[in-house]
Protein backbone atom coordinates (compact mmCIF):
# COMPACT_ATOMS: atom_id res chain seq x y z
CA UNK A 1 0.00 0.00 0.00
CA UNK A 2 1.19 3.51 -0.74
CA UNK A 3 1.25 5.87 2.19
CA UNK A 4 1.85 9.13 0.34
CA UNK A 5 -1.78 9.90 -0.48
CA UNK A 6 -2.76 12.76 1.88
CA UNK A 7 -6.35 11.54 2.15
CA UNK A 8 -5.27 8.04 3.04
CA UNK A 9 -2.82 9.39 5.60
CA UNK A 10 -5.50 11.48 7.25
CA UNK A 11 -7.97 8.60 7.19
CA UNK A 12 -5.46 6.24 8.83
CA UNK A 13 -4.41 8.76 11.47
CA UNK A 14 -7.98 9.61 12.39
CA UNK A 15 -9.06 5.97 12.56
CA UNK A 16 -6.05 5.18 14.75
CA UNK A 17 -7.12 7.88 17.19
CA UNK A 18 -10.83 7.19 17.01
CA UNK A 19 -10.14 3.55 17.86
CA UNK A 20 -11.93 1.89 14.93
CA UNK A 21 -8.72 0.53 13.42
CA UNK A 22 -8.30 -3.25 13.75
CA UNK A 23 -5.47 -4.30 16.00
CA UNK A 24 -3.08 -5.49 13.30
CA UNK A 25 -3.59 -2.36 11.24
CA UNK A 26 -2.88 -0.34 14.35
CA UNK A 27 0.37 -2.23 14.95
CA UNK A 28 1.35 -1.48 11.34
CA UNK A 29 0.48 2.16 11.84
CA UNK A 30 2.64 2.23 14.99
CA UNK A 31 5.58 1.09 12.87
CA UNK A 32 4.80 3.66 10.18
CA UNK A 33 4.74 6.62 12.57
CA UNK A 34 8.03 5.54 14.12
CA UNK A 35 9.64 6.43 10.79
CA UNK A 36 7.29 9.03 9.36
CA UNK A 37 7.32 12.18 11.49
CA UNK A 38 4.69 13.95 9.38
CA UNK A 39 2.27 11.05 9.76
CA UNK A 40 3.03 10.99 13.48
CA UNK A 41 2.20 14.70 13.68
CA UNK A 42 -1.05 14.06 11.82
CA UNK A 43 -1.92 11.38 14.39
CA UNK A 44 -1.00 13.74 17.22
CA UNK A 45 -3.27 16.46 15.82
CA UNK A 46 -6.20 14.05 15.84
CA UNK A 47 -5.36 12.84 19.33
CA UNK A 48 -5.34 16.43 20.52
CA UNK A 49 -8.68 17.13 18.89
CA UNK A 50 -10.34 14.40 20.95
CA UNK A 51 -8.18 14.74 24.08
CA UNK A 52 -10.58 17.23 25.74
CA UNK A 53 -13.21 14.46 25.84
CA UNK A 54 -10.98 12.30 28.05
CA UNK A 55 -9.78 15.30 30.03
CA UNK A 56 -13.41 16.07 30.89
CA UNK A 57 -13.79 12.80 32.80
CA UNK A 58 -14.04 13.18 36.56
CA UNK A 59 -10.81 11.75 38.03
CA UNK A 60 -11.11 8.34 39.68
CA UNK A 61 -8.25 7.07 41.82
CA UNK A 62 -7.45 3.43 41.04
CA UNK A 63 -7.16 1.13 44.10
CA UNK A 64 -3.64 0.74 45.57
CA UNK A 65 -3.38 -2.84 44.29
CA UNK A 66 -2.93 -1.53 40.73
CA UNK A 67 0.31 0.25 41.59
CA UNK A 68 1.48 -2.74 43.64
CA UNK A 69 0.88 -4.99 40.63
CA UNK A 70 2.81 -2.61 38.36
CA UNK A 71 5.74 -2.53 40.77
CA UNK A 72 5.69 -6.33 41.08
CA UNK A 73 5.80 -6.64 37.32
CA UNK A 74 8.80 -4.32 37.01
CA UNK A 75 10.72 -6.14 39.75
CA UNK A 76 12.79 -4.39 42.40
CA UNK A 77 14.64 -1.23 41.42
CA UNK A 78 18.30 -1.98 40.77
CA UNK A 79 20.79 0.78 41.43
CA UNK A 80 23.79 0.15 39.21
CA UNK A 81 26.35 1.93 41.30
CA UNK A 82 27.60 -1.09 43.26
CA UNK A 83 31.09 -0.73 44.76
CA UNK A 84 33.91 -2.10 42.59
CA UNK A 85 35.28 -5.30 44.00
CA UNK A 86 38.40 -6.89 42.56
CA UNK A 87 38.44 -10.57 41.77
CA UNK A 88 34.82 -11.21 42.71
CA UNK A 89 34.68 -14.42 40.74
CA UNK A 90 37.39 -15.93 42.94
CA UNK A 91 35.36 -15.45 46.10
CA UNK A 92 34.24 -18.86 47.29
CA UNK A 93 31.67 -17.34 49.63
CA UNK A 94 30.03 -15.53 46.75
CA UNK A 95 29.60 -18.66 44.71
CA UNK A 96 28.48 -20.76 47.63
CA UNK A 97 25.90 -18.08 48.24
CA UNK A 98 24.99 -17.99 44.58
CA UNK A 99 24.56 -21.75 44.46
CA UNK A 100 22.32 -21.74 47.53
CA UNK A 101 20.31 -18.87 46.09
CA UNK A 102 19.97 -20.59 42.74
CA UNK A 103 18.63 -23.75 44.37
CA UNK A 104 16.26 -21.89 46.62
CA UNK A 105 14.65 -19.82 43.93
CA UNK A 106 14.78 -22.25 41.01
CA UNK A 107 11.15 -23.29 41.36
CA UNK A 108 9.93 -19.73 41.79
CA UNK A 109 11.94 -18.70 38.78
CA UNK A 110 10.46 -21.31 36.51
CA UNK A 111 7.01 -20.12 37.53
CA UNK A 112 8.04 -16.54 36.85
CA UNK A 113 9.48 -17.38 33.47
CA UNK A 114 6.36 -19.34 32.64
CA UNK A 115 4.24 -16.33 33.47
CA UNK A 116 6.37 -14.06 31.29
CA UNK A 117 6.08 -16.49 28.41
CA UNK A 118 2.34 -16.88 28.82
CA UNK A 119 1.84 -13.15 28.76
CA UNK A 120 3.84 -12.73 25.58
CA UNK A 121 2.03 -15.73 24.03
CA UNK A 122 5.06 -16.97 22.14
CA UNK A 123 6.15 -20.61 21.99
CA UNK A 124 8.44 -21.44 24.89
CA UNK A 125 12.05 -21.93 23.84
CA UNK A 126 14.41 -23.82 26.12
CA UNK A 127 15.57 -21.63 28.94
CA UNK A 128 19.33 -21.80 29.39
CA UNK A 129 19.61 -19.55 32.43
CA UNK A 130 17.86 -16.77 34.26
CA UNK A 131 20.24 -14.12 35.54
CA UNK A 132 19.28 -12.45 38.77
CA UNK A 133 20.32 -9.21 40.37
CA UNK A 134 21.83 -9.10 43.84
CA UNK A 135 18.36 -9.16 45.38
CA UNK A 136 17.52 -12.38 43.58
CA UNK A 137 15.09 -10.76 41.14
CA UNK A 138 15.19 -12.13 37.57
CA UNK A 139 16.76 -9.57 35.28
CA UNK A 140 17.94 -11.35 32.12
CA UNK A 141 16.91 -14.52 30.40
CA UNK A 142 19.03 -16.68 28.10
CA UNK A 143 17.23 -19.05 25.73
CA UNK A 144 18.15 -21.32 22.86
CA UNK A 145 17.08 -19.80 19.57
CA UNK A 146 18.50 -22.74 17.69
CA UNK A 147 21.17 -25.33 18.39
CA UNK A 148 23.82 -22.76 17.50
CA UNK A 149 22.44 -19.57 18.92
CA UNK A 150 21.47 -18.50 22.42
CA UNK A 151 19.51 -15.30 22.83
CA UNK A 152 19.96 -13.23 25.95
CA UNK A 153 17.43 -10.50 26.68
CA UNK A 154 16.74 -8.10 29.53
CA UNK A 155 13.50 -8.87 31.38
CA UNK A 156 13.06 -5.30 32.46
CA UNK A 157 14.56 -1.95 31.80
CA UNK A 158 18.16 -1.89 33.02
CA UNK A 159 19.80 1.48 32.57
CA UNK A 160 23.48 2.14 32.15
CA UNK A 161 25.43 5.33 31.61
CA UNK A 162 27.63 5.94 28.59
CA UNK A 163 30.86 5.44 30.55
CA UNK A 164 30.09 1.78 31.25
CA UNK A 165 29.19 -1.40 29.42
CA UNK A 166 27.65 -4.67 30.52
CA UNK A 167 29.88 -7.62 29.75
CA UNK A 168 28.72 -11.22 29.73
CA UNK A 169 30.93 -14.00 31.09
CA UNK A 170 30.82 -17.78 31.00
CA UNK A 171 32.07 -19.55 34.11
CA UNK A 172 32.59 -23.31 34.17
CA UNK A 173 34.11 -25.02 37.19
CA UNK A 174 37.12 -23.25 38.64
CA UNK A 175 38.41 -21.89 35.33
CA UNK A 176 38.62 -18.11 34.97
CA UNK A 177 35.55 -16.46 33.38
CA UNK A 178 35.49 -16.38 29.60
CA UNK A 179 34.19 -13.18 27.96
CA UNK A 180 31.09 -13.66 25.78
CA UNK A 181 30.73 -10.08 24.64
CA UNK A 182 29.09 -6.80 25.54
CA UNK A 183 25.33 -6.52 26.08
CA UNK A 184 23.15 -3.64 24.99
CA UNK A 185 20.27 -3.65 27.50
CA UNK A 186 17.89 -1.65 25.33
CA UNK A 187 17.86 -4.06 22.40
CA UNK A 188 14.19 -5.08 22.06
CA UNK A 189 14.70 -8.60 20.72
CA UNK A 190 17.66 -9.44 22.90
CA UNK A 191 21.08 -10.38 21.66
CA UNK A 192 22.52 -13.51 20.09
CA UNK A 193 25.53 -15.32 21.50
CA UNK A 194 27.30 -18.44 20.29
CA UNK A 195 25.62 -21.45 21.91
CA UNK A 196 28.92 -23.33 21.98
CA UNK A 197 30.33 -20.71 24.38
CA UNK A 198 27.61 -21.31 26.98
CA UNK A 199 28.91 -23.31 29.98
CA UNK A 200 27.48 -26.79 30.60
CA UNK A 201 24.57 -27.33 32.99
CA UNK A 202 25.61 -26.18 36.45
CA UNK A 203 27.96 -23.50 35.10
CA UNK A 204 27.23 -19.82 35.47
CA UNK A 205 26.45 -16.89 33.21
CA UNK A 206 27.34 -13.57 34.79
CA UNK A 207 27.21 -9.93 33.75
CA UNK A 208 29.72 -7.46 35.15
CA UNK A 209 29.87 -3.70 34.91
CA UNK A 210 32.91 -2.71 32.88
CA UNK A 211 34.34 0.48 31.43
CA UNK A 212 32.66 1.42 28.13
CA UNK A 213 33.87 -0.97 25.46
CA UNK A 214 34.45 -3.85 27.86
CA UNK A 215 37.03 -5.11 30.29
CA UNK A 216 40.52 -3.86 29.35
CA UNK A 217 42.15 -7.00 30.77
CA UNK A 218 40.01 -9.77 29.32
CA UNK A 219 38.89 -10.63 32.84
CA UNK A 220 36.08 -9.05 34.83
CA UNK A 221 37.23 -5.84 36.51
CA UNK A 222 33.94 -4.41 37.76
CA UNK A 223 31.23 -5.71 40.10
CA UNK A 224 29.05 -8.60 39.01
CA UNK A 225 25.55 -7.22 38.73
CA UNK A 226 23.63 -10.23 37.46
CA UNK A 227 24.28 -13.95 37.50
CA UNK A 228 22.43 -17.16 36.90
CA UNK A 229 23.15 -20.84 36.94
CA UNK A 230 22.88 -22.69 33.63
CA UNK A 231 19.81 -24.80 34.30
CA UNK A 232 19.66 -26.53 30.97
CA UNK A 233 22.35 -26.99 28.37
CA UNK A 234 21.72 -30.17 26.39
CA UNK A 235 24.67 -29.54 24.08
Amino acid sequence: MKYDDPQLREALASRYVLGTMPRLARARFDRLIAEDAALCAEMRDWAEIFAPVDAAETPVAPPPRVWRAIEAQLGPATPLRAPVRAGWWQSLTLWRGAAALATAVAAALLIYVGAVELRSARPLPTVVAVLMDKDGAPAWIARFESRDVVNIAALRHPSIDSRHSYELWAIAGSAPPKPLGLLAPGLPGGQAIDAAAVPPTGGVLAISLEPAGGSPTGKPTGPVLFQGKVISNPL
Partner: protein, 182 residues
Protein backbone atom coordinates in the same frame (compact mmCIF):
# COMPACT_ATOMS: atom_id res chain seq x y z
CA UNK B 1 -6.37 23.52 34.91
CA UNK B 2 -3.61 25.90 35.93
CA UNK B 3 -1.04 27.66 33.80
CA UNK B 4 1.92 26.22 35.72
CA UNK B 5 4.24 24.25 33.42
CA UNK B 6 3.41 20.56 33.43
CA UNK B 7 5.83 18.39 35.42
CA UNK B 8 5.09 15.46 33.12
CA UNK B 9 7.75 16.01 30.40
CA UNK B 10 10.53 16.11 32.99
CA UNK B 11 9.11 13.08 34.82
CA UNK B 12 8.89 11.16 31.57
CA UNK B 13 12.48 12.05 30.74
CA UNK B 14 13.58 10.65 34.09
CA UNK B 15 11.43 7.55 33.62
CA UNK B 16 13.18 6.96 30.29
CA UNK B 17 16.46 6.91 32.24
CA UNK B 18 15.06 4.19 34.51
CA UNK B 19 14.12 6.43 37.46
CA UNK B 20 11.55 4.52 39.53
CA UNK B 21 10.82 7.45 41.86
CA UNK B 22 9.87 9.57 38.86
CA UNK B 23 7.71 6.72 37.59
CA UNK B 24 5.83 6.54 40.90
CA UNK B 25 5.24 10.29 40.73
CA UNK B 26 4.09 10.05 37.11
CA UNK B 27 1.62 7.36 38.17
CA UNK B 28 0.38 9.39 41.11
CA UNK B 29 -0.29 12.41 38.90
CA UNK B 30 -1.83 10.67 35.89
CA UNK B 31 -3.47 7.39 37.00
CA UNK B 32 -6.63 9.12 38.34
CA UNK B 33 -7.05 10.80 34.93
CA UNK B 34 -6.40 7.65 32.91
CA UNK B 35 -8.40 5.21 35.04
CA UNK B 36 -11.80 6.70 34.13
CA UNK B 37 -10.89 6.38 30.44
CA UNK B 38 -10.20 2.66 30.92
CA UNK B 39 -13.39 2.31 32.96
CA UNK B 40 -15.49 4.01 30.33
CA UNK B 41 -14.24 1.78 27.52
CA UNK B 42 -14.07 -1.57 29.35
CA UNK B 43 -17.18 -0.92 31.47
CA UNK B 44 -15.72 -3.23 34.10
CA UNK B 45 -13.62 -2.28 37.08
CA UNK B 46 -11.44 -5.39 37.14
CA UNK B 47 -10.67 -5.10 33.45
CA UNK B 48 -10.00 -1.38 33.75
CA UNK B 49 -7.51 -2.09 36.52
CA UNK B 50 -5.81 -4.67 34.33
CA UNK B 51 -5.67 -2.20 31.44
CA UNK B 52 -4.17 0.48 33.64
CA UNK B 53 -1.55 -1.93 34.92
CA UNK B 54 -0.60 -3.13 31.42
CA UNK B 55 -0.52 0.44 30.17
CA UNK B 56 1.85 1.70 32.84
CA UNK B 57 4.19 -1.23 32.33
CA UNK B 58 4.14 -0.39 28.62
CA UNK B 59 4.85 3.28 29.40
CA UNK B 60 7.81 2.25 31.53
CA UNK B 61 9.16 0.13 28.71
CA UNK B 62 8.45 2.67 25.97
CA UNK B 63 9.39 5.85 27.82
CA UNK B 64 12.76 5.96 26.08
CA UNK B 65 11.06 6.09 22.68
CA UNK B 66 8.62 8.82 23.69
CA UNK B 67 8.91 11.84 21.40
CA UNK B 68 6.96 15.10 21.84
CA UNK B 69 5.89 14.69 18.23
CA UNK B 70 3.57 11.95 19.57
CA UNK B 71 1.77 14.57 21.62
CA UNK B 72 2.19 16.01 25.09
CA UNK B 73 2.84 13.25 27.66
CA UNK B 74 -0.75 12.95 28.86
CA UNK B 75 -2.06 12.59 25.31
CA UNK B 76 0.59 9.95 24.54
CA UNK B 77 -0.29 8.09 27.74
CA UNK B 78 -4.01 8.34 27.03
CA UNK B 79 -3.48 6.81 23.60
CA UNK B 80 -1.71 3.83 25.19
CA UNK B 81 -4.55 3.34 27.69
CA UNK B 82 -7.26 3.78 25.06
CA UNK B 83 -5.80 1.20 22.71
CA UNK B 84 -5.32 -1.38 25.46
CA UNK B 85 -8.81 -0.76 26.75
CA UNK B 86 -10.21 -1.16 23.24
CA UNK B 87 -8.32 -4.44 22.80
CA UNK B 88 -9.62 -5.64 26.14
CA UNK B 89 -13.14 -4.69 25.13
CA UNK B 90 -12.88 -6.41 21.75
CA UNK B 91 -11.80 -9.64 23.40
CA UNK B 92 -15.24 -9.67 24.99
CA UNK B 93 -17.03 -8.30 21.94
CA UNK B 94 -19.37 -11.27 21.74
CA UNK B 95 -20.41 -11.07 25.35
CA UNK B 96 -23.51 -9.24 26.43
CA UNK B 97 -23.27 -5.57 25.59
CA UNK B 98 -22.55 -4.02 28.96
CA UNK B 99 -22.61 -0.49 27.60
CA UNK B 100 -26.24 -0.62 26.52
CA UNK B 101 -28.18 2.11 28.19
CA UNK B 102 -25.17 4.11 29.28
CA UNK B 103 -24.84 6.11 26.09
CA UNK B 104 -27.21 8.87 26.91
CA UNK B 105 -25.28 10.21 29.86
CA UNK B 106 -22.00 10.19 27.98
CA UNK B 107 -23.40 11.67 24.83
CA UNK B 108 -24.93 14.38 26.94
CA UNK B 109 -21.60 15.04 28.57
CA UNK B 110 -19.89 15.57 25.25
CA UNK B 111 -22.83 17.29 23.64
CA UNK B 112 -22.35 20.15 26.07
CA UNK B 113 -25.59 19.76 27.93
CA UNK B 114 -23.82 19.27 31.22
CA UNK B 115 -23.15 22.37 33.25
CA UNK B 116 -19.52 21.79 34.17
CA UNK B 117 -17.75 25.06 33.53
CA UNK B 118 -14.12 23.96 33.75
CA UNK B 119 -13.79 22.06 30.52
CA UNK B 120 -11.89 24.70 28.71
CA UNK B 121 -11.93 26.22 25.29
CA UNK B 122 -10.76 23.08 23.49
CA UNK B 123 -13.74 21.00 24.52
CA UNK B 124 -16.03 23.93 23.73
CA UNK B 125 -14.53 24.14 20.23
CA UNK B 126 -14.90 20.40 19.71
CA UNK B 127 -18.51 20.54 20.89
CA UNK B 128 -19.25 23.45 18.60
CA UNK B 129 -17.86 21.56 15.60
CA UNK B 130 -19.54 18.28 16.56
CA UNK B 131 -22.79 20.20 16.61
CA UNK B 132 -22.33 21.10 12.94
CA UNK B 133 -22.47 17.38 12.03
CA UNK B 134 -25.67 15.56 11.32
CA UNK B 135 -27.01 13.51 14.21
CA UNK B 136 -26.02 10.06 12.92
CA UNK B 137 -22.39 10.75 11.97
CA UNK B 138 -21.96 12.61 15.24
CA UNK B 139 -23.32 9.70 17.21
CA UNK B 140 -21.15 7.17 15.33
CA UNK B 141 -18.00 9.19 15.94
CA UNK B 142 -18.76 9.72 19.61
CA UNK B 143 -19.69 6.09 20.25
CA UNK B 144 -16.45 5.01 18.59
CA UNK B 145 -14.31 7.41 20.58
CA UNK B 146 -16.10 7.05 23.91
CA UNK B 147 -16.60 3.28 23.92
CA UNK B 148 -14.18 1.90 21.37
CA UNK B 149 -16.91 0.41 19.18
CA UNK B 150 -15.81 -1.33 16.00
CA UNK B 151 -17.50 -0.55 12.69
CA UNK B 152 -19.51 -3.78 13.03
CA UNK B 153 -20.74 -2.90 16.50
CA UNK B 154 -21.66 0.59 15.40
CA UNK B 155 -23.59 -0.87 12.48
CA UNK B 156 -25.56 -3.13 14.84
CA UNK B 157 -26.11 -0.41 17.40
CA UNK B 158 -27.25 2.14 14.83
CA UNK B 159 -29.14 -0.47 12.74
CA UNK B 160 -27.31 0.67 9.63
CA UNK B 161 -25.12 -1.16 7.08
CA UNK B 162 -21.38 -1.14 7.88
CA UNK B 163 -20.56 0.69 4.67
CA UNK B 164 -22.89 3.51 5.60
CA UNK B 165 -21.40 3.76 9.08
CA UNK B 166 -17.89 3.93 7.62
CA UNK B 167 -18.80 6.72 5.26
CA UNK B 168 -20.62 8.64 8.02
CA UNK B 169 -17.48 8.49 10.09
CA UNK B 170 -15.13 9.34 7.24
CA UNK B 171 -17.11 12.35 6.10
CA UNK B 172 -17.93 13.38 9.63
CA UNK B 173 -14.26 13.43 10.59
CA UNK B 174 -13.33 15.40 7.47
CA UNK B 175 -15.96 17.95 8.30
CA UNK B 176 -14.95 18.08 11.93
CA UNK B 177 -11.36 18.75 10.91
CA UNK B 178 -12.35 21.53 8.52
CA UNK B 179 -14.49 23.12 11.20
CA UNK B 180 -11.72 23.00 13.80
CA UNK B 181 -9.09 24.28 11.35
CA UNK B 182 -11.34 27.03 10.07
Amino acid sequence: MTDAPSPLPELLRRVAAGDRTAFAELYRLTAPKLFPVALRITQRRDLAEEVLQESFVAMWNQAASYDPIKGVPLVWMTTIVRHRAIDQRRRRANLADATAGSDDALLTLVAGESDRADRGAELAALQRCLDTLEAQPRQAILLAYLHGYTHDELARRLATPVGTVKSWIRRGLERLRRCLDG
